[in-house]
Symmetry: C2
Subunit: 123 residues, 2 copies
DNA sequence: ACGATATATGAAGATTTTTTCATATAAGAG
DNA sequence: CTCTTATATGAAAAAATCTTCATATATCGT
């Protein structure tokens, strides 16, 4: 199986592919937070947040810094903002129905429109 | 649990979080291919490729077009190239050891360097 | 209509990932 | 040193996802 990018990408994307971790990333856009704050804000157990912070930090999507007893986690905006931006652009264009991607039927309909040359430029 | 972006992002990233699907996306960077070609090139069963093409198309990471009996799948470069670009940038900067993100030890060492102000700009 | 080719689908078993709970570690306050 | 607070860790159960195999569908050429 041919794998160059794909092999190295897997860890990157699988770390992002989790609702809790995405919620953490989103929360950290507002600024650094400690574990307890994150857990409280997201209404999740502290251990669950810790478990999920680990892969995020390992992938360097977040950074951590000790502040007395607590650990402050902050977003790697350099990486995450472009990622979110691409996602938002994509979902506005291709998944207009509230983030959920198109259903098979909608996709077919869209394809029909595409074929009539009105909406998309083909690649 | 606070969820805005996070909720809608999950489908996007979980679709990318699979080695077979990533290999398909990478392969399609070279140009459109049909299912059998993809399966042969990646040395995977045809049914496996079909199963994996479905979520990729649903998310609009790929497009499909009928060409006689075969289905030609092509990459949504508009979305995928920026995503790959961000990934490559990120992994070069933060995961220098061939795509694998840093280990805990390496991370600690890097953090030490960070603290001494030589490598990263903090966010 | 028939056979061959191309692709899709369903469902089960296998595998991976997540969640939870109990507990460990670590550091500051007194 | 002990108590408290903050965070991390391990392991088992639960849940989600993948893989595989058998089979269905669809189209083309004859």
């Amino acid at each position: 199986m041919k794998r160059n990018l794909s092999e190295t990408c897997y860890d990157f994307f699988s770390t992002l592919a989790n609702p809790t971790r995405l919620a953490v990333l989103e929360l950290l856009r507002d600024g650094p937070k400690n574990v307890t704050d994150i857990a409280n804000t997201l209404n999740q157990e502290q251990s669950m947040i810790s478990h999920n912070l680990k892969p995020l930090e390992r992938c360097r999507f977040i950074f951590s810094e000790r502040r007395k007893k607590e650990h402050l986690y902050s977003l790697n905006k350099e990486t995450m903002e472009p990622i979110f931006k691409t996602f938002v652009y994509h979902s506005k264009k291709y998944c207009p129905t509230r983030g959920k991607c198109l259903t098979a039927d909608q996709l077919r309909e869209q394809k029909r429109k595409d074929a009539s040359g009105t909406i998309f430029v083909t690649h």
